[in-house]
Amino acid sequence: MTGYLVAIFLGILFGFALNKGGLTRYKNIVGVYRFTNLTVIKFMLTAICVAAIGLYVMRGLNVIQFPAAPATYLLGNLLGGLIFGAGMALAGYCPGTVAAGAGEGKLDYLISGGLGLMTGAVIFGFSYREFMPAILKVANLGNVTLPDLLNVNPLLLVGVFVVMCLILFYFLENGLKRRDRVE
């Protein structure tokens, strides 16, 4: 029971961040694919940087231990990403923002988004056996992380990643955005 309460609490923070960050708007999602509005990149990379620093430092200090990282199977991750991106650019939401956007009272998120996602789940679920085991067998590295794979000190890699993100943010704020096109 406590577990569910924790889940709801974390979900509220997550939904709140999505709402305030403007991720529950079509224009912000599609803007990233047109390079006119890079909210999504800024939001996602900031979250990843903060979480990566926090998690790896806390693990270094023995405060936490990691749950299994999302599994890496090269073909499936890439193929899934390609399919996912097409849908995201078309509809302007993703599963998380459908939940948060529905909470805001957006009926297109609640009805078309909710029904569409469930239909997608049904299609995927019933065709799972036909193709997924085959895809999962291609280059399946399991629940690995880059520091494990490259065998380097994780904090060094986190540092490099964060510095790369900061440099990217600097350029994003200073002219990488296309200014010839207004939304």
Partner: protein, 406 residues
């Protein structure tokens, strides 16, 4: 001067992180606690306490998903080894009934294939098994079954196909699996002085950074002639946050998720769980036909669904605090400019998009939150592959939709 501030921040940040990484160099990697969605996989495979994925074709063939409990029972959601191994089945008087649930048409082929690898030459056991099939399931792999659990990796087949003496082979295999798993007890935390100093430095850094931002915002607000009354409430009421600020909030949420629940955030699996629950409710038999809805997205209320409810409430809270909470149809100005104001277009295209999204998320193993962000924070290669794919095809689709207006 103002333009130089980001550069200074970048330099300071990189120096700090480099320093931090050297402080932590001698720190040992700690084993992850055996508590995730599947503690079997975490201990056996991820930590390598007793890897079985490559032992026997039956394991390799089923290694792509969390199917351990389907054959071996036990509890996949308990961290403690003894509790997780309660009711563990490591050898079979008959073929696990679960085989039949997926392999309805190719059960015989599969049996022959596995029996061949076990060097079971006579097929009498199979023929016998088929006779007993209706009641008992296939009574086969008798005596041979323990071989796939045997940690030593040798296939210790007993002679005589059908009549097993379970006592003979059970003890050694059980004993060896126990010793294999018990060799690596969880590490006790080691608090070195370096770590304490680093912790204090981090605390000072976070506090200092926070108070600098607060002070700077107040200064700017005063310079603009706005009275900074109850700064926090003012921020919360604001409709558009800087994406960096919202990103930091999400990053902290991700850390809290690991800290409080030892899980990661994700939305698409919750959707699959809801679908599975509804499907089992509407058409239980059809739902059980699907391997996905039977074994992977199992029906019933779970943590991910609770998280989705929270996200719904969070979106509501966000809109409420900024005064935009109301039931409405699509009102996005960019959408209206491109597609026109017709509601049905938004619903049809939104529906098609959502179908594609969920299929893509299923194949990739997560969505933007469950894979890109939750994987990215561990620096998992899957997350970066997913993001690369997501942007490549997204740009293409945007090009097609917008054409000359791109």
């Amino acid at each position: 001067m103002a333009r130089k501030i980001p550069i200074v921040f970048i330099l300071l940040g990189s120096l700090f992180l480099l320093g931090a990484s050297f402080w932590l160099l001698p720190v040992k990697e700690v084993n992850a606690q055996c508590k995730t969605t599947s503690s079997c996989k975490t201990c056996h495979e991820v930590q390598g306490q007793d890897p079985v994925n490559t032992k026997g074709a039956w394991h390799t063939d089923h290694a792509y998903a969390d199917l351990c409990t389907g054959c071996h029972s036990g509890k996949a959601d308990v961290a403690d080894k003894d509790q997780a191994h309660q009711g563990l089945v490591t050898q079979y008087q008959e073929m696990p009934a679960n085989c039949k649930q997926c392999h309805t048409d190719d059960l015989e082929t599969k049996f022959k294939q596995y029996a061949g690898q076990l060097n079971v030459s006579d097929t009498t056991s199979l023929q016998q098994a088929q006779k007993n099939d209706s009641q008992k399931g296939l009574s086969l792999l008798l005596g041979q079954a323990p071989a796939d659990i045997n940690v030593s990796g040798e296939i210790t087949k007993e002679t005589g196909g059908a009549a097993p003496s379970s006592s003979g082979s059970s003890n050694p295999s059980n004993a060896s699996s126990n010793t294999g798993a018990a060799t690596t007890p969880p590490q006790k935390p080691e608090n070195t002085t370096g770590n304490i100093i680093l912790g204090v430095l981090l605390g000072i850094g976070v506090l200092g950074g926070g108070s600098y931002i607060t002070w700077n915002e107040r200064r700017l607000a005063q310079a603009n002639g706005v009275r900074p009354q109850s700064w926090i409430i003012e921020r919360i009421r604001k409709e558009h946050w800087s994406p960096y600020a919202a990103g930091i909030l999400l990053g902290i949420t991700c850390i809290l998720t690991v800290l409080l629940a030892n899980r990661t955030l994700g939305a698409s699996f919750g959707i699959a769980s809801i679908t599975s629950t509804l499907l089992h409710w509407v058409a239980p038999q059809a739902a059980d036909q699907s391997m996905y809805f039977k074994f992977i997205a199992t029906p019933g209320f779970n943590w991910e669904i609770a998280l989705l409810i929270g996200m719904f409430l969070g979106g509501m809270a966000g809109a409420w605090t900024s005064g935009t909470l109301k039931l409405r149809w699509n009102d996005d100005e960019v959408w209206i400019k491109i597609f026109g104001p017709q509601r049905w277009k938004r619903f049809v295209l939104g529906f098609i998009g959502a179908v594609i999204i969920q299929i893509g998320a299923g194949i990739a193993g997560g969505c933007t939150s469950g894979l890109a962000i939750s994987g990215g924070m561990f620096l998992a290669p899957s997350a970066f592959l997913f993001m690369a794919g997501m942007f490549a095809s997204g740009i293409l689709v945007a090009l097609i939709i917008y054409r000359r207006r791109y």
